[in-house]
C-alpha cells in the first residue's frame, strides 16, 4: 500500500528524475544507466485512438537498453539536441525501500546537423509530450530507477528517433 511521500523523499526522487533527464539530454548514457537498478525495465507506451489499442513501442531490460545505447554509433542518429522539461507530480512511498513517481514530460527538439542545417539549424520545436511513470528501489542508500514507463500523448513523431524519451 502506497503512502504520500515525505518532503525528504520527494526531494530525493525529484533529484533522480531531474538527473536522469539531464544525462539523457547530454547523451551521457553510461551515467544514465548507472541510475538504474539491475532489474530495470524501460518501456515507451501510447494509446492509439485509431486502432483503439494500447501500444508498446519500446520494451527493454537493462541489458537491452545498454546494448541499444552501445549500438547508437552504428546508426544514422538525428543529431538534434533534446531538452527534457520535467515536472515531478505525485510521489508515493510503497515501503522503506520502494517508491514511485509520476512526472509530466515535454521534450524540445533543437535542429543541429541533420536536415537542412543551413535553414533549420538552431531552431527549436516541441518533439513529444507525455508522462514518466517511474518506480524506484533503494540500493546501498541510493534511489535507483527500477522501472520507467514513458506514456506518450504525442503519436506523431515525424521521422522518429533512435534515442528514447
Amino acid at each position: 500500500m502506497s503512502t504520500p511521500a515525505t518532503a525528504e523523499l520527494r526531494a530525493q526522487l525529484t533529484h533522480v528524475v531531474a538527473r536522469s533527464a539531464r544525462l539523457l539530454d547530454e547523451r551521457r548514457f553510461g551515467e544514465w544507466i548507472d541510475l538504474t537498478a539491475p532489474e530495470f525495465r524501460y518501456r515507451i507506451q501510447a494509446y492509439s485512438p485509431d486502432i483503439r489499442r494500447e501500444m508498446t513501442w519500446l520494451d527493454h531490460d537493462r541489458a537491452g537498453m545498454l546494448a541499444l545505447i552501445e549500438l547508437l554509433p552504428k546508426h544514422h542518429v538525428d543529431g538534434a539536441d533534446l531538452l527534457r522539461q520535467i515536472s515531478v507530480g505525485e510521489v508515493s512511498s510503497e515501503s522503506a525501500s520502494e517508491a514511485s513517481s509520476v512526472s509530466s514530460l515535454s521534450i524540445f527538439y533543437t535542429a543541429r546537423d541533420i536536415g537542412d542545417s543551413h535553414v533549420d539549424g538552431g531552431s527549436s520545436r516541441l518533439f513529444v509530450v507525455g508522462r514518466y511513470h517511474d518506480r524506484f528501489r533503494l540500493e546501498a542508500g541510493e534511489w535507483r530507477l527500477s522501472e520507467r514507463s514513458v506514456r506518450l500523448q504525442t503519436r506523431q513523431l515525424g521521422v522518429g528517433s533512435h534515442l528514447f524519451p
Binding site: 515507451i44 501510447a46 492509439s48 485512438p49 485509431d50 486502432i51 483503439r52 489499442r53 501500444m55 508498446t56 513501442w57 519500446l58 520494451d59 527493454h60 531490460d61 541489458a63 537491452g64 545498454l66 546494448a67 541499444l68 552501445e70 549500438l71 552504428k74 546508426h75 544514422h76 542518429v77 538525428d78 541533420i114 536536415g115 537542412d116 503519436r155 506523431q156 513523431l157 515525424g158 521521422v159 522518429g160 528517433s161 533512435h162 534515442l163 528514447f164
Partner: protein, 431 residues
C-alpha cells in the same frame, strides 16, 4: 569528368543512357495535382484492416486524395465506405479516428451518424433517417429518401484489408491486383489477422520517394540492422523481383539472420522462433502496390505502409503492424517486440529510412535545378535490380500520359524540333 556543368547535370548518364526519371516529378505542384486526379482517385487503396472495425457499428475515418472517408461496419456485418461529408451543408460527419455508433453523439441518437451542425441523421448504410423539422422547413419539397451519404466502392480482401476506390465504377479489386498477391497472399489468408500497431508520420518528402524506398533494396547500405541481418547473409542477393501489371512488384524471401545484429545477442537470440503461417522461420517477403502501399512480412510480424499524399512535398505515412488474431498474450508480445525493434517510431530502421527520404526532398526542391534520377541498376531482376522502380514509373507514365523522364515533353519537343529543322532544310544543304 571531375565535376559537371549545369548542362551536363541534366544530361543522361552512362553509355548507353541509363533509365532515369526527371526530378521535377517529385517537386512540381501541377504534376502532383495531375497525380491526385489520374492516379489516387483511380486506384484501389488499402485504408484499414477489418480488425480496426470488428464489431457491428464500428467506424473508422481516413482521407483519400483530399476526400474525407468513413468506413462503417453495418449491423449486417458488411463494411461500407462513404464520403464522410454531410450532404446538407458539407460538414464533416464522423470526427473521431474510430469508434462505435452505439454511442449516441451529443446531438444525435444511438446507432446513427449524426451531423453535429444541424442534426441530420443517417444509418450505417448511409440512408437518411431524420431531418429535424423537415416538414416545417421543406414541406413536401425534400424527403429523407432524396438524400443519403455518398457511398464509395469498398471491398475487404487479401487478409482482411479494407480497400476503397473513389471512382464509382472501378474494375474489381481482384482484377486490379491480378497475380500481385500470389507470393504473399497465402500467408495473409491462412488465418485471420489483427492490427496491433499503428503510428503515423507527416514526412516532408514526395510520396513517390517513400514508395521508392520500399521498392529498392540497396539503400540497405544505410541500415546497420538490415546490412548485417540481411545483405551480408547467404541468399540475400538471390532474392528475385517479380513485376505485375498495374505497377505492382514483389520480392522473394530469404532467411534473415537476426542474431547478426549485436543487440539481438543480448536477449533475443533464441526467441526469434515465431513466424507467420506458411512462412519459413525468419523469412522475409515484400509486396509493393501501386501507387503507395507496401506489405512487408518479416519473421513474426507484418508491416503495412500506406501513403496519403498531402502535397508535392508532404506525405502522411501510416504504419501498421499485424499479427494473428488467435495470438496468445506471449505470442503477441513477441510480435510487437519484433516489429517495433526495427519498425516502430523508436526502432532501428524506420528513422533512417525517413531521414533518407527527407534528405532527398531537401536535395530536390520546387524550382531547383532538375536532375536525372537514375534507376539503372540491372541485376537479372535480383534484389538490387531497380526493375521495381522502372516498372512503377512505366505505370505512372501510362496513367498520367506523360513520361517520368520527360514530364513536360521538352526532350520530345526538342527531338521533334530537330526533325522539323531537318525537314525544313533544303536538300543537300551543308550541315
Amino acid at each position: 569528368m571531375t565535376s559537371q556543368t549545369s548542362r551536363q547535370w541534366r544530361q543522361s548518364l552512362g553509355s548507353p543512357a541509363l533509365p532515369f526519371v526527371d526530378s521535377r516529378i517529385y517537386t512540381e505542384r501541377d504534376i502532383f495535382d495531375d497525380e491526385l486526379h489520374k492516379i489516387w482517385r483511380k486506384s484501389w487503396l488499402l485504408v484499414a484492416h477489418e480488425s480496426e472495425l470488428h464489431e457491428p457499428l464500428d467506424f473508422r475515418t481516413t482521407t483519400i486524395a483530399r476526400e474525407p472517408v468513413a468506413l462503417v461496419r453495418g449491423e449486417d456485418n458488411v463494411v461500407r465506405a462513404f464520403l464522410n461529408v454531410c450532404p446538407h451543408r458539407g460538414t464533416l460527419l464522423l470526427r473521431e479516428p474510430a469508434g462505435n455508433l452505439r454511442q449516441a453523439s451529443p446531438s444525435g441518437s444511438p446507432k446513427r451518424i449524426t451531423c453535429m451542425f444541424h442534426a441530420w441523421q443517417f444509418d450505417a448504410k448511409g440512408q437518411c433517417l431524420s431531418i429535424p423539422r423537415r416538414n416545417a422547413g421543406y414541406q413536401e419539397r425534400l424527403q429523407c429518401s432524396d438524400v443519403s451519404l455518398h457511398q464509395l466502392p469498398c471491398e475487404v480482401g487479401y487478409g482482411g484489408f479494407v480497400w476503397v476506390h473513389l471512382d464509382a465504377n472501378p474494375v474489381p479489386l481482384r482484377e486490379a491486383m491480378g497475380e500481385a498477391f500470389s507470393a504473399l497472399g497465402p500467408h495473409l489468408e491462412a488465418e485471420p489477422l489483427e492490427v496491433f500497431h499503428h503510428h503515423k508520420a507527416i514526412v516532408h518528402t514526395n510520396y513517390k520517394l517513400w514508395h521508392e524506398t520500399n521498392s529498392e533494396f540497396y539503400h540497405d547500405y544505410m541500415h546497420h540492422f538490415n546490412r548485417v541481418t540481411g545483405m551480408q547473409q547467404a541468399g540475400y542477393h538471390d532474392r528475385r523481383y517479380e513485376a505485375f501489371p498495374g505497377g505492382h512488384a514483389t520480392v522473394s524471401s530469404m532467411e534473415v539472420k537476426y542474431t547478426a545484429y549485436e543487440h539481438e545477442q543480448v536477449n533475443l537470440a533464441d526467441e526469434r522462433d515465431l513466424s507467420f503461417p506458411l512462412l519459413e522461420r525468419n523469412g522475409w517477403k515484400l509486396l509493393d502496390l501501386f501507387p503507395g502501399i507496401t506489405l512487408n512480412l518479416r519473421g513474426s510480424a507484418l508491416r503495412v505502409d500506406t501513403a496519403t499524399p498531402l502535397s508535392e512535398d508532404r506525405v502522411l505515412i501510416e504504419f501498421r503492424g499485424l499479427g494473428l488474431k488467435r495470438d496468445s498474450e506471449a505470442e503477441r508480445e513477441r510480435r510487437v517486440r519484433d516489429h517495433n525493434t526495427i519498425w516502430g517510431p523508436f526502432g532501428r530502421n524506420l528513422p533512417e529510412d525517413l531521414l533518407g527520404v527527407t534528405s532527398q526532398a531537401l536535395g530536390m526542391r520546387p524550382g531547383s535545378e532538375a536532375l536525372h534520377v537514375l534507376q539503372g541498376r540491372r541485376e537479372d531482376s535480383r534484389v538490387h535490380d531497380e526493375v521495381g522502380l522502372r516498372h512503377y514509373y512505366s505505370e505512372w507514365s501510362r496513367r498520367l500520359g506523360r513520361s517520368a523522364s520527360d514530364p513536360y515533353g521538352e526532350a520530345a519537343e526538342a527531338r521533334s524540333g530537330t526533325a522539323q529543322e531537318l525537314l525544313a532544310r533544303p536538300l543537300g544543304a551543308a550541315e
